[in-house]
C-alpha cells in the first residue's frame, strides 16, 4: 500500500468507524461524535477559570476508557475526544480573559492586555471574534505543519538513528525539558530525577521488584495515572485552592463589562489587516511548539512581544497602542498560543517524546488502551501488509481537521456564549474536580492504594509548585523512564557491553554533548 492509500484508510477509519447514530439515513461515526463533543467540552473547560484543558482531559480519560474498553477500536474515539478538548480549551481560554480580565488558561494572560480594554470600550464581541479568527487560523496552520513534518522526521529517525543514538536522544530530551521548563535548570533536574526515581520503583528485570522495600504495596510500582494525575491535576487543585485562600477568596469574574453598543462583526479589510500578524504569530507558535517542553504561554508571550515591537516601529502615532485595546495584540497572542497545540504533537508522534501536558494525556490514552505506540515506528509505510498504527496516525490527523472544521464553523458562536462560566467560583469547583479525579482513578485501578498514591503525588505536585518547580519534567521523565532504560539495556547489549556506548557514534556523542550544554547554558542564565 502506498502513502496515499494510508491517508485514505485513516480518513475512512474516522468517517466509517463504528456508527453512533444515523442522520437522514447516513451513519455518523462514534469518532466524529467524540471529536465534536470533546471540542465543545474543551471550550467549556477553557472558559472556566481554574479548569482548563489538562484537567478536563484528566477527568475524561478514565471515563472514556471505561466506556470504550481496551480494544484498538477505542483508540480513535478516545484520542479524538482528547484532541477535541485540547483544541477547544485553547479558544475557550480567551473568553474570560476578554470579558472579565481573568485568563481561563495561563496562555491567555496576554489576551487580557488588549482584550479587556476592548471590552471596556464596548467591543467585547468584536474582541472575541478576533480571538476566534486568530486562534482557528493558528491552529490550522500548526496542524498542516505537523502533518507535513511528523512523518518525515520519524522516517529520518528510523533511517539514521540506531539504539545508542535513540538512547542519547531521550537523554537530550530530558535534559532540554529539565533546563528550559519551569523555575531553573537545577529545579528542572530535580523534578526530572524524581520522576525517573518514581517510575523505577517496583520494576526491573530481576525477580525482586527494585526499590519496593519488600512491601506488597510498592512491588507493583506506581500506576502511571496515579503519578501523572496526582502531580499535575491534584497538585494544581491544592495549589489553586490554597492560593485562592491566601488571596482572601477573591472571587473570579468580579470585573464588570459595560454595555456592548460599539460591537459589530469583523469586516474583510479588518481581517486582511490582521492576517500578517496572525501568520507571523502562527510561525512563532509552531516553531516553539515543536520543541519539547516549551509551552503555549511562552509562545503567546513571544508572539505578543514581537507584534508589539513591530507595531511600535511601523504604526502611525494615532493607532491604538498595545495594552490599550489593540486588535493586533489579541490576534498575536491567540494565534501564537493556538499554533502550539498541533506542533507540540510533532515530537510525540515522530519521536514518542511528549512535549506538553496535552501530549502527556494522549500518550497516557495510547498506553492504557494499547495497540498504538507513538514514536518513529508508527510511520512505517509497509507495502506488503497494512501497518495499523500508521492508519491510526492518519486517523488522528483527520480528527484534528474535523476539530478545526468545528472551530471554524460553530466554535466562534459557542465560545461567545460561554461568558457566564467565568463566574463559577473556583473554590467550589476544584474540590469536585479533585474527588472526580480520584474516583476516576479508583474506577480504573479498583484499589484504595491507587487513591493514596495519587494523593501522595498530589502533595508532591503542590510542594513543587510552592517552591517554583515545574511538575512537567517529573511527568515526562515518569513516562519516558521505562523507555530510556530499555533502550539503554538494548544498546549496551548490542555494543557487546561497551561502557562508552553513548559516545562511540558521532551522532550519539553530539546528542550527549548537547545534553550537557543545554543544562550548563541554562544554569549560567538562571541556576
Amino acid at each position: 500500500m502506498d502513502a496515499l492509500g494510508y491517508v485514505w484508510l485513516g480518513i475512512l477509519a474516522v468517517f466509517q468507524g463504528p456508527e453512533a447514530f444515523a442522520l437522514l439515513g447516513v451513519g455518523v461515526s462514534v469518532t466524529l461524535v467524540m471529536v465534536c463533543a470533546g471540542f465543545l467540552l474543551g471550550i467549556v473547560a477553557g472558559a472556566t477559570p481554574g479548569l482548563g484543558g489538562p484537567i478536563a482531559m484528566a477527568i475524561s480519560l478514565p471515563i472514556l476508557i471505561s466506556a470504550f474498553g481496551f480494544t484498538p477500536d477505542a483508540l480513535l474515539p478516545v484520542m479524538g475526544f482528547l484532541i477535541g478538548i485540547m483544541k477547544g480549551a485553547t479558544i475557550g481560554g480567551a473568553v474570560p480573559a476578554i470579558l472579565f480580565n481573568t485568563p481561563g488558561t495561563p496562555d491567555s494572560y496576554m489576551t487580557t492586555l488588549d482584550g479587556y480594554p476592548m471590552a471596556m470600550k464596548g467591543q467585547a464581541r468584536r474582541a472575541l471574534r478576533i480571538a476566534h479568527l486568530s486562534s482557528a487560523s493558528g491552529d490550522t496552520f500548526s496542524d498542516i505543519v505537523l502533518i507535513l513534518c511528523a512523518p518525515f522526521l520519524a522516517l529520518m529517525v528510523e533511517a539514521y538513528l540506531d539504539l545508542p543514538e535513540k538512547t542519547a536522544l531521550l537523554i537530550l530530551s530530558l535534559s532540554f525539558i529539565a533546563a528550559v521548563v519551569g523555575g531553573s535548570p537545577g529545579k528542572g533536574l530535580i523534578s526530572a530525577g524524581l520522576g525517573l526515581l518514581a517510575v523505577y520503583v517496583g520494576t526491573g528485570e530481576d525477580f525482586y521488584p527494585r526499590l519496593s522495600m519488600g512491601t506488597q504495596t510498592l512491588n507493583r510500582g506506581f500506576p502511571i495515572a496515579a503519578a501523572v494525575l496526582g502531580v499535575l491535576i491534584l497538585g494544581t487543585v491544592f495549589h489553586q485552592m490554597a492560593q485562592g485562600h491566601a488571596d482572601r477568596l477573591r472571587p473570579s469574574g468580579d470585573a464588570k463589562t459595560p454595555d456592548q453598543d460599539a460591537d459589530r462583526a469583523l469586516s474583510w479589510p479588518e481581517v486582511r489587516a490582521l492576517m500578517p500578524t496572525i501568520l507571523r504569530s502562527s510561525v512563532i507558535g509552531t516553531v516553539i511548539g515543536a520543541l519539547p517542553g516549551i509551552g503555549s504561554t511562552l509562545a503567546a508571550t513571544i508572539g505578543y512581544t514581537s507584534a508589539k515591537a513591530r507595531h511600535d516601529r511601523h504604526s502611525p502615532p494615532d493607532a491604538t497602542a498595545f495594552g490599550t485595546g489593540a486588535p493586533r495584540g489579541i490576534a498575536a497572542t491567540e494565534a501564537a498560543n493556538s499554533s502550539v497545540s498541533g506542533a507540540n504533537l510533532i515530537p510525540v508522534l515522530s519521536l514518542g517524546i511528549p512535549g506538553n501536558t496535552a501530549a502527556v494525556f494522549l500518550i497516557l490514552a495510547a498506553e492504557s488502551i494499547g495497540g498504538f505506540n507513538p514514536g518513529p515506528s508508527v510511520f512505517r509505510f509497509t507495502t506488503d501488509q497494512v501497518n495499523p498504527e500508521l492508519v491510526i496516525a492518519f486517523g488522528l490527523f483527520t480528527c484534528m481537521f474535523v476539530a478545526n472544521l468545528m472551530n471554524w464553523t460553530v466554535g466562534g458562536v459557542f465560545m461567545r456564549s460561554m461568558g457566564f462560566l467565568a463566574r463559577v467560583p473556583r473554590h467550589r469547583l476544584l474540590p469536585v474536580v479533585l474527588v472526580l479525579t480520584l474516583t476516576a482513578i479508583y474506577v480504573q485501578e479498583t484499589r484504595m492504594e491507587a487513591v493514596w498514591f495519587t494523593l501522595g503525588f498530589g502533595v508532591l505536585g503542590f510542594g513543587m509548585r510552592l517552591v517554583g518547580m515545574s511538575p512537567l519534567p517529573f511527568v515526562i521523565a515518569f513516562i519516558l523512564g521505562a523507555k530510556l532504560e530499555d533502550s539503554a539495556r538494548q544498546s549496551f547489549s548490542a555494543t557487546g557491553g561497551d561502557p562508552w556506548f553513548l559516545f562511540t557514534s558521532p551522532v550519539a556523542a553530539v546528542f550527549m554533548a548537547l545534553s550537557v550544554l543545554v543544562v550548563v547554558l541554562g544554569a549560567r542564565r538562571r541556576p
Partner: protein, 187 residues
C-alpha cells in the same frame, strides 16, 4: 524563593540523592549497576535509579551552590498557603477514610439490629450498600474543603457535595455494570 530557601531546598535534595545512592538503592535492589549473566555483561537493576538520583544530586548541588534571587525579590511563597493546603489534605484523607469504613460499618449495624451475619464483600455491588461509603466520604471530601475556604459550614457546600456525588454515581455507576465505585473494589 529566597536565596536561603533555594539553598536549603538544594541541600535537602542533594542529601536525599546521596542517601538514595549510598543506602536505599544498594540495599533495595538485588542486582548491582552492572552484572554478569552467562559470561555476558548486562546493565543491572540498580543503574537506572542511580542515574535518576544523580539527576537529583546535580540539581540539588546547582541550587545549593549557585546564587539565587535575593531575599527582597520573593519572600516565603508558601506563607498563607501551606497551612490551608495541609488542612485541605486532612479533610480529603478523612473523607476517603470514612468512605473506606462506612459501608461495612453500616452493614454491621444493620446486622446487629436484624440479628443477621452478612459479609460486605457479597453485597458490595448491591444498593444501598455500594453507595453508603461513597456518598458519605464523597460529601466530606468535597464539602469539607469548600467550608474550609468559606470559613463556615454552609448548606450550599453540603448541597454541592451531595449533588456532585450524585453526578459521579450517574457517570460511573449507572451506565456501567462492571465498574465498582470506591471503596468497593477493596472488599
Amino acid at each position: 524563593m529566597s536565596r536561603t530557601g533555594t539553598r536549603a531546598l538544594g541541600l535537602i535534595c542533594a542529601s536525599f540523592a546521596v542517601l538514595c545512592i549510598t543506602v536505599w538503592i544498594p540495599l533495595d535492589t538485588d542486582t548491582g549497576l552492572i552484572e554478569k549473566v552467562r559470561r555476558r555483561v548486562e546493565i543491572g537493576d540498580a543503574l537506572a535509579p542511580t542515574v535518576a538520583a544523580v539527576f537529583v544530586l546535580m540539581g540539588g548541588l546547582l541550587l545549593a551552590l549557585a546564587p539565587g534571587p535575593t531575599e527582597a525579590e520573593d519572600r516565603a511563597p508558601w506563607r498563607g498557603t501551606l497551612g490551608f493546603g495541609v488542612a485541605m489534605l486532612a479533610m480529603i484523607v478523612a473523607g476517603f477514610a470514612v468512605m473506606l469504613v462506612a459501608g461495612p460499618m453500616a452493614l454491621a449495624l444493620a446486622d446487629t439490629v436484624q440479628g443477621s451475619a452478612r459479609e460486605y464483600r457479597l453485597l458490595r455491588a448491591d444498593t444501598p450498600w455500594k453507595y453508603i461509603g461513597f456518598v458519605l466520604g464523597g460529601v466530606i471530601a468535597i464539602s469539607g474543603p469548600i467550608c474550609l475556604a468559606e470559613r463556615a459550614v454552609t448548606i450550599r457546600a453540603l448541597l454541592i457535595g451531595a449533588g456532585a456525588v450524585a453526578g459521579m454515581i450517574a457517570l460511573f455507576d449507572l451506565p456501567f455494570d462492571d465498574l465498582l465505585l470506591p471503596p468497593n473494589g477493596d472488599y
